[in-house]
Amino acid sequence: MSGWMGKVLIVDLEDQSTHTEDLDPQVAKDYIGGRGLGIYFLKNLMDPKSDPFASENILIMATGPLTGTGAPTGARYMVMTKSPLTGAVTCSNSGGFFPTELKRSGLDAVIFKGKSSKPVYLYIEKGTAQLRPADHLWGKTTHETTDLILSETDSRARVACIGPAGERQVLFASIMNDKDRAAGRSGVGAVMGDKKLKAVAVRGSGRIPLSDPEGFNAFNKEILDRFNDQVRKTPLGLTVNGTAGVVVVTQNFGVLPTKNWQQGTFDGWEKIQGERLTRDFLVSNKSCYGCPIKCGRITKVSDPRFAGEGEGPEYETIYALGSNCMVDDLAAITKANYICNELGLDTISMGSTIACAMELVERGYLNESEIGRPLRWGDAEALVELTEMTGLRKGFGNRLAEGSFRLASSCGHPELAMVSKKQEFPGYEPRGVQGMGLAYATSPIGGSHMRGDPAYFELFGIPKPMDPREWKGKARPVKAFQDISAIIDSAGLCIFFAIRNLTGKDLDVLPTGILPYLNTATGAKYTLEELSRAGDRIITAERMFLVHAGFTRENDTLPRRLTHDPMPFGPAKGLTCRLEEMLDEYYRERGWNVKGIPDPEKLKDLGLD
């Protein structure tokens, strides 16, 4: 095979055995790779009703056919398992260098089954896999773990690992690779910790075969020349200020979630926006493998209260730990981000859960004596302290570690958790960005911006703008953006490059530029229609996993605050999210019935019957 390596490693943690199996070329073509392969294996290898912490749950790390090929931003992999936070699937995606190394070791994917009785890590060297004891790594941070593994294997190896949060099954624990890149969402790190799998380290030096290297390189040059020409004329905001630049956009549209989503603008926003990060904290930009954008931020905080060095924060982190908690101290937000990276926590769920706790205290539903300290809006020191306590499940951190839905429910007020399918939202207020509300409610992983990102056409005007306040006509472009996200995630690309440079210029966002890359890499002779249908197939297969796990329309929801309480002030004043109206239209577009269950004809059409 070309593009794909044609091999999948199966690791049985129960009996500590490993073996490889061939990747079926037709499965590879139909599901592309990454996220698609992940759902293919999940639906075939496990019962969707299984408990996420049962031995039956499997965890898949899968690269895409463009990962490591040199296609711009072809750096990514996907972690899929059944989520302990949501009970649905995970789609936790990350870049950096680990995914390319995994591919170069001769593997498209690794599947972990069962549980180990003692801590282990997996070391893969040129396709040979070995489970090694990890007792000496248990309890270590992600940075310490990475350094120790590199010192005892190969300094050129790449490591994905969990920190203390994953070991303690914090329900939103992440898997960190290359120290500071995160497969952040839905508690993938908690599943790894439950399996006593501390890390995966890979040293791969092989070549990734391409079907038509000359055609691939010629197309790659054309795309990169066009990109470089554009950024010479107008520097890319992502390069200049990282994703943190988005604060300017959401604040001015009135959709920057603030005070646990009680308002859409934040008075302190200029203190936490991208320009401030660049001016006061940026050491240098950082790129993932093969990325011309370099949106990563290496930063340093000198303020003695919050001193440290590391990576971040991203926009989502700034919203969650910042405006959502009314914290306008960027040093504290950055420090809390460092702690999340080192303990292995998802910054979005962390910040949102603290914000939820702040509102529970404000309304008298949670007593500060239970927390062990005062907890008021804007308390920067509390933010940092509670983040650390959560990663270690120390004191009140043990309750925060369950996420905002379980915390708010334990106080008798689940309506104050700003979640869909029990997962916390990213930073775009659906009352003023209607399509985003539909995307949150129908995402297979719950609150997420990456499984279809309508902010692109609603806020950023890419590929062309649509009024964010309008709900009519949103179902079709939301479906299109979800489908293209499934293709991007499965190919091993990053949305930041692909959505601007490799898709059609209308709201159908067809994978016009991904097609030549895939065909010259794999030789699979995709037509545009086949590739588009693969996106629909992946989304529908994920939906069927959810249906079998017991999810229906009743789970495609948003908190009442967003659908019934008008935005109190700011540019989106007076608006509510019109989810129910959009849902009917959305299900029709998908070929799902009114309960959100795919029709039998639809399943047959996609080969999923």
Partner: protein, 77 residues
């Protein structure tokens, strides 16, 4: 009528006398293009223009008390 203008990030380079936020008196019935002319923003410059929190363009009408915001193309998240 009076209109408030706010410039962010790279659009600050068009700020008159380094004033990134200022108010200006315009004739009733003016459109956003009046502000773009005052700021001398050249043809071909890429930016996002909001009037009172809504995406706008050169032909968008302005009213007394309107706020016009300009920032460069930004995406991500």
């Amino acid at each position: 009528m009076r209109v408030t203008v706010k410039l962010y990030n790279e659009m600050k380079r068009f700020a008159p006398a380094d004033q990134t936020e200022f108010s200006v008196e315009l004739k009733p019935g003016s459109m956003a293009v009046s502000i773009l002319e005052i700021l001398k923003i050249p043809e071909g410059e890429k930016f996002t223009l909001l009037v009172d929190g809504r995406r706008a363009d050169a032909g968008t009408p302005l009213f007394d008390g309107s706020t016009l915001v300009l920032f460069p193309p930004i995406s991500g998240g």
